[in-house]
């Protein structure tokens, strides 16, 4: 039944016992004229109680361990300002004009220099610039996936990628991880089981370094094994690597793409190594895939933002960007340390968590019987926020888990946030003890915060 505004004729008014005529016919409305015209893929795009709670998390009274905004307070704004000033004065008419769909050639050369730090030898012709690496996930999925195709993802996986896979109506099959990242046997098994069920796996989506949300890194030994498994299964890998240069311990890990060129689409980003507001990321792809990505990019945006690309290019050319990354590493290491120390000091022994060597996130598993989503209102009342684990699964798992981010708050705020979180967990444990364990809940669609939550 179409459901714009219409008189209420579908159901007659209830009869009146006294036989009086019914009151005037009402107006029937769903308050959305388009309700029966949306595409099937919008199913699940509904208001969520959880997202509403994040509105409170944006207030300064709340310690938000929920956001993923990089901490860019250390950026040399004078240097960036001078470069942008010069850019407008010297090359303004080009910088504010349309550009190539594949992205600016100079920037693509610089991107290859950035990737060299992780062992990748690439040609600028194989790089496609995108609107953040988020758009690269979208373009790759657009190019490869029909509705019902399977994408293998880590368990848990990046919420933004899961959103893309949902939008293209893919089926996500999660593959187990441990402290060394993706578990090879679990990958073998997932491939076998999915194919035995007659389904088509289009690629493995993986974040090998400083995983969002899990905080773990694929060990060097496993990298070879994962490559071998995918080669044997003839499976494409989508290697998403926004945090690779933000390790705390040593030299960057060698990218999967460094040892396998044909079977990998590699995604990189300047959002964490420089600043996310420019929205510049990229895909490095085998030539045939790259051609399709360029055409898809032209359909999507005509060209990635030229001004942003020039700005990033100028920054890379005029500033010690590697030194800046070292400073970012120190910023995040200090915050990671504050969080891990506070968790060890404050949390009950039944809780466990990962110990990231880089990146932004700790993945916390609550004591048995607790449900992170059900607990979030209590946390918000106590002025601390996190992202419940179910946001990072396509199948409703993760209810005992949560993602804690340490990237943005100061170490003092992180300690205060963990102190509040510990009190919330304690109160919830007492409640669970009183009422018994949680029942599994229905999986829901859109339950991650907006990108601009700090």
């Amino acid at each position: 039944m179409p459901s714009g505004d219409r008189p209420a004729e579908s159901r007659p008014p209830a009869p009146d016992p006294a036989g009086r005529p019914a009151v005037r016919v009402g107006r029937e409305t769903r308050l959305d004229t388009y309700v029966d015209r949306y595409a099937a893929r919008t199913k699940g795009m509904s208001a969520s109680e959880i997202r509403a709670l994040f509105a409170v998390a944006s207030r300064p009274e709340v310690v938000s361990l929920a956001g993923g905004m990089p901490n860019i307070s250390g950026l040399p704004l004078d240097v960036v300002g001078a470069a942008l000033h010069e850019l407008v004065l010297d090359r303004g008419t080009v910088a504010m004009q349309y550009g190539p769909g594949q992205g600016d050639p100079t920037l693509r050369v610089q991107i290859c220099e950035v990737m060299r730090r992780e062992g990748i030898a690439a040609h600028p012709d194989d790089v496609v610039v995108t609107v953040g690496s988020q758009q690269a996930v979208d373009l790759v999925t657009r190019v490869f996936c029909d509705p019902g195709d399977v994408v293998l993802c880590e368990a848990p996986s990046y919420v933004g990628a899961l959103g893309v896979f949902r939008a293209y109506e893919c089926e996500v099959v999660h593959v187990e991880m441990d402290d060394d990242g993706l578990v090879p046997d679990a990958l073998r098994q997932a491939i076998a089981v999915t194919r035995a069920a007659g389904k088509s796996i289009k690629y493995l989506y993986t974040i090998p370094n400083y995983h969002n949300p899990a905080g773990v890194t694929l060990s060097s030994a496993r990298r070879t094994e994962i490559l071998d498994i995918c080669a044997e299964a003839d499976l494409l890998i989508l290697e998403d690597n926004p945090y690779g240069l933000l390790g705390f311990e040593a030299e960057p890990y060698r990218a999967l793409r460094a040892d396998e060129a044909d079977r990998i689409v590699y995604l990189g980003s300047f959002s964490k190594t420089f600043a996310p507001g420019f929205r510049v990321g990229w895909a490095l792809a085998p030539h045939a895939v790259r051609e399709k990505l360029v055409l898809a990019q032209e359909s999507a945006t005509l060209c990635p933002p030229v001004f942003s690309q020039y700005a990033v290019s100028a920054y890379l050319a005029t500033h010690d960007w590697q030194g800046q990354i070292k400073q970012f590493q120190e910023t995040y290491r200090e915050r990671r340390d504050a969080m891990l120390e506070a968790l060890a000091d404050q949390l009950p022994s039944q809780a466990t968590w990962t110990r990231p060597e880089g990146g932004f996130y700790v993945w916390l598993t609550l004591p048995e019987g607790l449900d992170a989503k059900a607990m979030l209102p209590r946390a918000v009342t106590e002025r601390v926020a996190y992202v419940p684990g179910t946001a990072f699964y396509a199948d409703g798992f993760g209810s005992r888990c949560m993602r804690l981010s340490y990237c943005h708050p100061s170490p003092e705020r992180i300690r205060e946030g963990v102190r509040r979180l510990a009190a919330v967990i304690q109160a919830e444990m007492e409640l669970r003890e009183t009422f018994g364990a949680a029942l599994p809940r229905e999986p829901r669609g859109y339950e991650a915060p907006n990108p601009d939550l700090s």
Binding site: S3, P21, R27, A52, P377, E430, F435, A438
Partner: protein, 318 residues
């Protein structure tokens, strides 16, 4: 300040769980008042609010805070302290109405039917043993049951419990939102909302809105996803039932000593009887809210209704 300000402050946001809803309500009412030629400032609740009002008192405040920040009476107390007129009920009336258990008993003593219910804090379950308490609740009230926080709105933390084994997780979900749970007998029937607005001739009920959520439960998602719920206004009830809904909402409004505006949430059972569930002193005004539908059905606009309420508040000087 010697000059009397014409500025109307719409307060929205706050730190309660319903912050997001409140911001939407505030935006809509602020726009409506601007279109009615008022000078409007929309403000959040923060530490600058009181000093700002002391330095430059507005002509009137329109609180559109939902949940504890705006409906438990504390804000109204502060506005009275500052001598700033505000739209809506007094602090004392808000305190009565905001606690669902208290409101139910006040309204019941005025002769209105409301489903049997018990209000119980989490500690009671802990101290007396949750399993036997829950057994007793099911035995006394029967199934299905509705579990909801005694304080709060937007159906946050509300669970309809159809079997005994679902009760523990409903209780836990409810206590995550607040310290006291209202466990209420479920009354099936047509879900309706009845708005009461006051003007110079006294309180009057606007056309009743019937609510038909797609999933059967008018939860947070059904409330704030445009298209997920069908509304019919005026509700296609019998004249007797329509009159009973209006009378119930007016009785609740008056029994609790409410002022200016309220919305009562009611159930019309199959036999035509009307049951009072709760009343809102600061009802939602979002694009998918109920009161704006009722206002429209009464051939009025939000701007005219709130404009009149603002003028009344300014005239009565509190």
């Amino acid at each position: 300040m010697s000059e009397q300000s014409d500025r109307i402050v719409v307060l929205a946001g706050g730190l309660a769980h319903e912050r997001d809803v409140s911001l939407r309500s505030g935006r809509r009412v602020a726009d409506a008042l601007r279109q009615a030629d008022f000078e409007v400032e929309q403000r959040d609740l923060d530490t600058h609010l009181v000093p700002g009002m002391q330095d430059d008192p507005p002509a009137c405040v329109v609180p559109l805070l939902h949940g504890e920040d705006g409906e438990d009476g504390a804000l109204q107390e502060v506005l009275a302290l500052l001598g700033v007129p505000h739209v809506g009920s007094s602090a004392a009336a808000c305190r009565l109405a905001f606690d669902k258990a208290v409101a139910k008993s006040v309204v019941a003593s005025a002769g209105v039917s409301t489903p049997d219910a018990l209000a119980l804090p989490a500690e009671t379950f802990r101290e007396l043993g949750a399993a036997s308490m829950m057994d007793a609740l099911v035995e006394q009230l029967g199934l299905p049951l509705v579990v909801k926080p005694t304080r709060g709105g937007s159906a946050l933390g509300v669970h309809v419990v159809r079997s005994r084994e679902d009760l523990p997780s409903a209780m836990v979900g409810c206590f995550s939102y607040g310290p006291v749970a209202l466990v209420e007998r479920f009354v099936g029937g047509t879900e309706v909302a009845a708005t009461v607005v006051e003007d110079e001739s006294g309180p009057r009920a606007l056309p009743v809105v019937e609510i038909r959520p797609d999933g059967g439960v008018y939860d947070y998602s059904a409330r704030y996803t445009a298209g997920a719920t069908e509304f019919v206004v005026p509700a296609p009830l019998s004249p007797a039932a329509s009159e009973a809904c209006a009378a119930t909402a007016l009785a609740a409004h008056q029994a609790l000593g409410l002022r200016d505006l309220s919305r009562s949430d009611l159930i019309v059972a199959a036999d035509g009887s009307v049951w009072f569930l709760e009343v809102n002193v600061s009802p939602g005004m979002t694009e998918t809210s109920l009161v704006p539908l009722a206002v429209e059905a009464a051939d009025a606009t939000l701007g005219s209704v709130f404009g009149d309420l603002v003028r009344r508040a300014i005239d009565r000087k509190h």
